[in-house]
């Protein structure tokens, strides 16, 4: 591979005194030198923490309406002010982050699983299965993702609602009557349905290119079975790219949830969503800009953080760039 420049042949790097470095150790070191990446990582971890503990740290009940304090600007008691129903915006933003992170987590991991399985399977099996998989992935990628997700939401929601209603009747579990939970479910489903294709195509391309590398040939030459080669050599070589893709995708999944909610087809009240908050604030953004600015800036900051993390990981895990 062309990943190693002439400098790696120098004696001080090949000398015995040098402690063996691991690929991941190397990557961690490169990443820690990337300022934007580290800043992004700090924000990202902070965001994940908030998402985890939001219900216990919010200063007010995020759905509590206080008609005495409607549309107030930021103050010592309400750090981000209050909305048109007198709810504490800070509490709502924190809960909105929780919503977005929850959606992003599930969507990112489920798309990773679908994308890796389909992409790798298509590349390894080849033939008409590969052709069909590529066809489906290209088809999904060529639609505007959000438009497609919105379409899927609108089409599937009544079905899912009816199904949940039937399930509630037969099982009488409260779970099936909770519309907030069902909103989440619909958003997860449609975003995952649309988003796995990008990763699938990436994994397929990676597997196809790595499979042609000489070290895979060398593995066959020592009598390794196809399974052995896949598990021990193909997977670790593809993993770096998958991790980079997932970290960037995480931020965009949060944005997608907000966009759907902004359009009114994602999370609906009383569930808290940054996108819906922006939508609600739009009505009076001239007089109360904080209603749009607070959730909007929060969202922008979070997405930027995840993009920086993804960028940093890409530099750290992609040896061709690392050697520069």
């Amino acid at each position: 591979m062309n990943s190693v420049s002439a400098s790696t042949f120098s004696p001080e790097l090949t000398g015995l005194a040098k402690k063996p470095r691991s690929l991941w150790g190397d990557a961690a070191r490169t990443f820690s030198r990337n300022k934007a990446g580290m800043a992004g990582l700090v924000v990202a971890i902070f965001v994940l923490m908030i998402a985890l503990i939001a219900p216990w740290i919010i200063p007010y009940d995020y759905a509590h309406q206080d008609w005495e304090r409607v549309r107030q600007g930021p103050s010592a008691t309400h750090w981000m002010g209050t909305d048109s129903l007198g709810r504490d915006l800070f509490s709502r933003v924190l809960m909105g982050i929780r919503t977005a992170v929850m959606v992003a987590m599930i969507v990112t991991f489920s798309t990773a699983i679908i994308g890796v399985l389909v992409g790798a399977f298509a590349a390894l099996v080849g033939g008409w299965i590969d052709t069909i998989a590529v066809w489906i992935m290209d088809g999904l990628l060529n639609f505007p993702a959000l438009w497609l997700a919105a379409f899927v939401t609108v089409v599937t929601r009544p079905t899912i609602m009816r199904l949940a209603d039937d399930l509630y009747k037969s099982t009488s579990l409260a779970f099936f009557k909770d519309t907030v939970v069902l909103d989440y479910l619909v958003v997860f489903l449609c975003l995952s349905f649309v988003w796995w294709a990008g990763l699938g195509r990436l994994v397929r391309g990676q597997v196809l290119s790595i499979r042609e590398k000489e070290f895979i040939e060398a593995q066959r030459a020592i009598g390794a079975s196809p399974w052995w080669i896949t598990i021990r050599h193909l997977v670790p070589n593809v993993l770096g790219q998958v991790i980079v893709h997932m970290s960037t995708q995480f931020g965009f999944a949060m944005l997608a949830e907000s966009s759907l909610s902004f359009l009114g087809i994602g999370i609906r009240p009383p569930g808290a969503s940054l996108g819906y908050m922006i939508f609600a604030g739009m009505a009076s953004w001239r007089s109360d800009p904080h209603l749009v600015a607070m959730p909007g800036l929060t969202l922008a900051l979070i997405i930027l953080a995840f993009v920086f993390v993804g960028d940093g990981l890409n530099d750290a895990l992609n040896p061709r760039i690392r050697e520069r």
Binding site: M1, S3, V4, T8, F9, L13, T14, L16, K18, P20, R21, S22, L23, K213, E214, F215, E217, A218, Q219, R220, A221, I222, G223, A224, S225, W228, R232, H233, P236, N237, P319
Partner: protein, 323 residues
Amino acid sequence: MKEKVLEVRDLRTRFFTHEGMVAAVEGLSLQVESGDVVGIVGESGCGKSTAALSFMRLLPPQGKIIGGEIILCGQDVVSLPAEQMRLLRGPKIAMIFQDSLAALDPTMKVGDQLMEPLQIHMKLSRADARHAAIELLNKVGIPSPEKRLDAYPHQFSGGMRQRVMIAIALSCNPRLLIADEPTTALDVTVQKQILDLMLQLRDELGAGIILITHDVGVVSEICDRVVVMYAGREVESGGTRDVFLMPRHPYTAGLLNSSLSLGHDRRQALRAIPGLPPNLIHLPPGCPFAPRCPRVVERCREEMPALREVVLGHEAACWNMEE
């Protein structure tokens, strides 16, 4: 006591491409006994690597062996089921690649890669395999192997990596070792060390070696016998001394004239062979070397010469041989 580790008779390998059928190997025969070093020389694209991949049964999907026999340690490899063939790679036949950096997995420690064939074929436990790996690194002359096991390929120098490749290839005591341009990517000083190492290990293990190269200097140094290939065909073969001192085929003579050696007479210019090897898809009738041959006669363009024994064990395929 010598045993026959590889016998190839009239091997014919084809590539089926969009542009047409490529006659990559056309009628190659050779024999390797344990302890032998047999060289296959020729220009790039003459079919020497394809021949090696045919012996290993590792041809790419569009490549196919359409004729001949390859008998590896008494077993006909051509008709063997894929799974049985896989089990022969490692314990019976192994290969060293040209670019050691490309041939090692960049994400895996050298030690783990060295342990893999032992785990696959000898079913050794991790601890046992690790001990065996340390021993192997010792054998190929890598200092403090316990430490080097945990290093990654990019932390090794080119020569060290080639030693690791040799250790991996020899880990299961193969009877036949195929080295495809093993020293091409290395410094001249390191080349000599690697060649010496291969010879030393051959003496220890008694394996046969096939050395594939375009470097006639390397061949003259370590090979007992040599096969010269041109356009997929075997044009001359015999003992290295016989062939290189008295080349019968004009292509062999051309190869020797175009290579530099220490004893080279400086007043005599290095003579390249004019022209390029032919397109293997549309081979003209007759000898494929005819368009570039200084001794070409009318018959060469019409009829392909067969291999003819000139002296015992030395054969060449030419209508117009230097006797």
